[in-house]
Each structure stands twice: as C-alpha cells, then as structure tokens.
C-alpha cells in the first residue's frame, strides 16, 4: 500500500457515471493518482499476473526477471516443478538485486553492497555484518547487534502454474489460480498450449497509451474486422464468421473466438461501407496464411484475456502470449512471446514462421493496436470529464453467441470498478 498513501481517496478522484460499466470516465486513462491506486488495488490486489513460461527457467536454479505492474520480480526454479517469485528489490537500499534478464544462480547477490538472498528471499549474508577487526582484535563498524536478518528478506509472492504458464500474486485474498480462472478459461489454456512449448520469438512493443486502453482493445471483438483491414480482406476474421464470446462466471476473463470456415458473408462487407473490405486485394503469396486446423473445436482465431493484463492468442496457428505492463499513466508495453511446439512437423513449424507476420508490432493484422490506443490518448486530451460509451450488444456482461458486442469490455470495467471501489 506504499504508493497510494499520497493519493487522495479513489471516491474523491472519480465520480463514475450512474450508468455503471457501460460508461467509462476518460479521466481513468490519464490521472496519475488513479494510476497509483491501480498499483495497490489491482496489481497488488486479489489478482494473478502472468510472468513467463516454465521453459524460460528449464533447470533448477535458472531464473528470469519479470514484473507485476510497476514492481520488478524474479522468477526462479527452485526444484523440478517448483518456482518462487521474489520482489526484485534489495531490503537494504531498494536496488535491483537481479539485473540480468535470465541466468542461473543458487542465490541472489545485490551488486550494490553484496547482501545475499536465497531462493526463498531469505537474507543469508550481509557484507561486513560484524564489521572489520581492529588492531586489538576488537570489532569496528558493522551492523548493530539488534539487526534482524530475518526481517530483511526479499518479499516472496504466491506462485502457481497452469499449462506451462507461471502466474504470481501479491495477495492472500486471490483465490487459488484455477478458481480465479474458472473451468472455461483453464480448459482453454490447456487446449491452446497442447504440446511441449518452445519459444519462436520474444520481443516488446512500446505503446504511448494508458495500459487499460490496450486491456480494452484485447477484449474488444467489435474492432478487429473494422480496424485491421488485412483480416477482413482475406476472410480471416469477419464478424459474419461463426464466433462468439465466452466468459467465466464472474465476467473477469474472456475468450473471443471465430471459426473462419463458417463465414457466410455479411452485406456490410460487400457494400463498400466498411473500409476494411478491399475486394481487389489478393496476396501474391497466399502461403502467408497457409494453416491447418490445429484444434478439435475448429476455432481458427481465439483471444483469451485474463484480468488484468494477460492475453493468450491463437490466430490461425500463431500461438503466443502477451504480457501487458503499465509504464506510467500514459505509457505501456507489451511483451510478446510466440510459441511453437516440439511436436510440430517441419511443415507446421514453417507455417508458424510465416504466420508470425500476422502478429506483433509489425503484424499485418495487429500493428494497428500499437497506435490506436495513442489515437484515443490524444483524442481525449483536454476534456477528461467526458465518458466513453460501451453499449455494443446491450447493457450486460456475460457470454454471447456473436462478436458484434462489447460484452467483454464491459466485463473488464465491471471488475475494475469492484476492485477500485468506485
């Protein structure tokens, strides 16, 4: 609760519109005090946060660094199937203990004054704790006799894994991970990550917008076929393809899915009213989107979003994770990991490589997401008293048999309001 102590109470900061989660005050995308409260109430609140893949620390003593919101963390494999998550901040001066992105170590030594921690975060050594021996054998300097090493560890967080994904939580109030996710979300993760994963690519994307504008974007199944023209043109993902939205019972998490083989077309796409539809556009190399039906459910496109900041994607056979990190009120970052499986045939592996062109900051069907949040950020400047409307598909939250709805965006705001008590 350290950050928000300086901030005014949330209820003084926001007057949420009486309509509830269908109307969003634009102030939440820019206000530094709200941002501080989010760190306390969301990122250190009763939530779980994706940190990385188990295979990123394949052996005991392997570690990698990650973050939960603004807070840097270390993920370390302590035994075969066991991981610890430690706040990456020395108890002495607050320095980053582990400054390398990955490595292997039996203990963590802060580079500043060589305070040493074990994998559970316990402080096991303080350099010159007993001082230096003087000429007459007396001890000079050193820590006071009442210095308690046990009270100066690295904070060790809750950690759980599912389908090779590692999640961490600051909060004892968060339910166990699978209860937090619910059965629909858990099953879909296991379905998408069905093999022995291997990393095909890892890169980052800086966005000049509040983190929630991307959280909305990932849940917004109304926009893809409209904003991402490449998608609609090749019948990869039109709203007229069979698809819909699945949610967990509490509307925290969402899966938007489509089955492109069911596309019957919709008059909007052929009438020229929708910018995204370009009839004269054909690929010179159609093998870019060569794909195979990888899943028994025949879903060709699914975006699973876990509150608050995790996305698991399947776009044709392009499988990957996106970790959303806030970087202050008006900046955020995505950490992308593209995933293949050891079981892939050469042909399948090649298709995944070619399909990697679809996603990421240069993705033919995703690049626009890197700037559309900034378009909003710029648009709302100077008039933060206004509200955004989230009414597509009605006033409710919950699963829907169509993608012409913003039900998942409403779900996000419903949970956001609950956690921030506004």
């Amino acid at each position: 609760m350290a950050q928000a102590v300086a901030a005014r109470p949330m209820r003084e900061l926001i007057q949420w519109p009486a309509q509830g989660f269908t109307h969003v005050p634009m102030q939440v995308f820019s206000d530094p005090e709200i941002y501080m409260w989010e760190q306390d109430l969301i990122f250190r609140g009763p939530t779980w946060h994706y940190l990385g893949l188990e295979i990123e620390a394949p052996q005991t003593n392997d570690f990698f660094t990650s973050a939960i919101g603004d807070t840097p963390v270390i993920v370390v494999r302590t035994a075969d199937e066991c991981f610890n998550v430690l706040v990456n901040r020395c108890a002495h001066k607050g320095a980053t203990v582990c400054y390398q992105p990955t490595g292997r170590s039996e203990r963590f030594t802060c580079p500043y004054h060589n305070w040493i921690y074990d994998h559970s975060g316990k402080l096991i050594s303080v350099a010159f704790e007993k001082g230096i021996r003087g000429r007459n054998g007396e001890s000079l300097g050193g820590m006071p006799a009442d210095f308690d090493k046990a009270a100066h560890g690295l904070r060790c967080l809750r950690v759980e894994t599912i389908a090779g994904l590692i999640f961490g939580s600051f909060s004892d109030a968060a339910p166990p991970l699978e209860d937090y996710l619910g059965p629909v979300m858990s099953a879909h993760m296991r379905r998408t990550l069905h093999g022995r994963p291997k990393i095909l690519a890892r890169y980052r994307q800086m966005m000049h917008n509040n983190w929630k504008l991307y959280a909305e974007n990932a849940r917004d199944n109304y926009h893809p076929s409209l904003l991402h023209a490449f998608f609609a043109t090749f019948k990869l993902n039109r709203l007229s393809a069979e698809g819909g939205v699945r949610q967990d019972d509490k509307n925290w998490h969402h899966i938007v899915f489509a089955k492109k083989h069911t596309d019957q077309g919709a008059p909007e796409y052929s009438s020229g009213e929708i910018r995204a539809q370009k009839d004269d556009f054909g690929l010179n190399d159609p093998t870019l989107i060569s794909s195979w039906i990888e899943f028994d459910d025949e879903i060709t496109n699914s975006i699973e979003t876990i509150f608050p900041t995790f996305t698991l994607q399947q776009i044709l056979n392009s499988v990957g994770t996106r970790q959303l990190l806030p970087l202050g009120p008006e900046k955020s970052e995505l950490v992308w990991t593209l995933i293949g499986f050891e079981e892939d045939t050469d042909e399948q592996a090649h298709m995944r490589l070619k399909q990697s062109n679809l996603v990421g900051p240069a993705g033919l069907v995703s690049m626009e997401d890197g700037i559309i949040g900034n378009f909003v950020q710029r648009g709302i400047k100077g008039d933060l008293g206004r509200t955004a409307v989230v009414l597509m598909g009605g006033h409710d939250v919950g699963s829907a048999p169509t993608r012409a709805t913003e039900t998942s965006v409403r779900g996000f705001w419903k949970v956001y309001k609950e956690l921030l008590h506004v």
């Binding site: 890169y203 800086m206 023209a229 900051p361 559309i372």
Partner: protein
C-alpha cells in the same frame, strides 16, 4: 614477379573494387528507395527466392528465425508494401537511414556475404517528432544478376528487442 602474375593481381583488385562499388551502390540505392517513399521499388532489390527478415538481436543470437517480419520469397515483400499502402492504418511517418560502408566477410563463389551497420531515424508527420527508431546491422548475401547486385538474403538485426508503437515500413 612475372608480368602475368602482376596482371592477375591487378585484374583481381580491379574486380574486387568493382564488386565493392556495386555493393555500395546497392546499399545506398536501397536506403534511398525506402527513405524517398518509393516503396513499390523496394522488392526489386531482391531475387525471387530471397529471404528478408527483421529480427531483434536477442532472438537472433539464440538462433531463432521468427522476428518482427519474416519473408521467404519476393512475393511476400510485394504483399507487405501493398498491405501498407491499402490496408494498414498508421500515423504517417518518414524514415532516414544512415548506413556504414559494407564490411565484406566472405566471397563464396557468386555470393558475397557482408555486414553493414545502420541507424534509422523516424519522423512523424505532421508533428515532426523525431526518434532514433532503430539501430542495428544488416547481414547480407548478395548475388549478381547481369549488371545488378541483388539481395539473396537480407536480415536486419535490430539492437533493441523493442519496437516503438509499430513497424510498418521495412528497414
């Protein structure tokens, strides 16, 4: 040293300087085409069975192939430009490439391997904000088709693994 041997060496030096000149021209023409927004001509710098990718240095160093862009033939380059022109949405911006002289690493038969550093400044339009968008190096395999030097393989390895906002115009 016989006259004949001297002549061979001279011819060899002349040939190699000629090759260097053609490679240098390829590099500078490539940058000019992108920076001057003549992107439709960009695929012409490649042979049909080419490979072009843009990949972060960390991925490249551990032997991964996928990166930001992955094109394993010239048609994919044409598709990139057509998508950029007619489908993708982005704030207009301009590139300026600053490139080093090419560092020739090897000549294997008809293929020249070389490495060239670049710095790429991106200017947004109309605000004019300028950022060092990317620095890195090109790892190239160059072949000669008649009088033209062309890329058989060009991998742009970016020093940063992070892209600011989006990458739509090729590097």
């Amino acid at each position: 040293m016989s006259d004949g041997a001297f002549g061979d060496t001279a011819r060899s030096i002349a040939a190699s300087s000629h090759i260097t000149e053609r490679i240098t021209r390829l590099m500078t023409d490539y940058s000019a085409v992108i920076d001057n927004d003549r992107l439709e001509s960009w695929p012409d710098f490649f042979v049909q069975n080419c490979f072009y990718s843009v990949i972060g240095r960390s991925d490249h160093e551990v032997g991964r192939l996928a990166g930001f862009m992955y094109c394993d033939n010239r048609d994919m380059l044409v598709d990139r430009i057509r998508s950029l022109r007619s489908a993708n949405v982005f704030q207009p911006h301009r590139y300026r490439h600053i490139i080093s002289p090419p560092r020739i690493l090897a000549v294997n038969g008809d293929v020249v391997r070389c490495e060239t550093s670049y710095a790429l400044i991106r200017t947004s339009v109309p605000e004019g904000a300028m950022v060092v968008f990317s620095t890195g190096r090109y790892l190239d395999e160059i072949v000669f088709e008649g009088s033209d030097a062309k890329f058989q393989r060009r991998v742009a390895v970016t020093d940063s693994d992070r892209i600011d906002m989006l990458l739509v115009i090729p590097i």
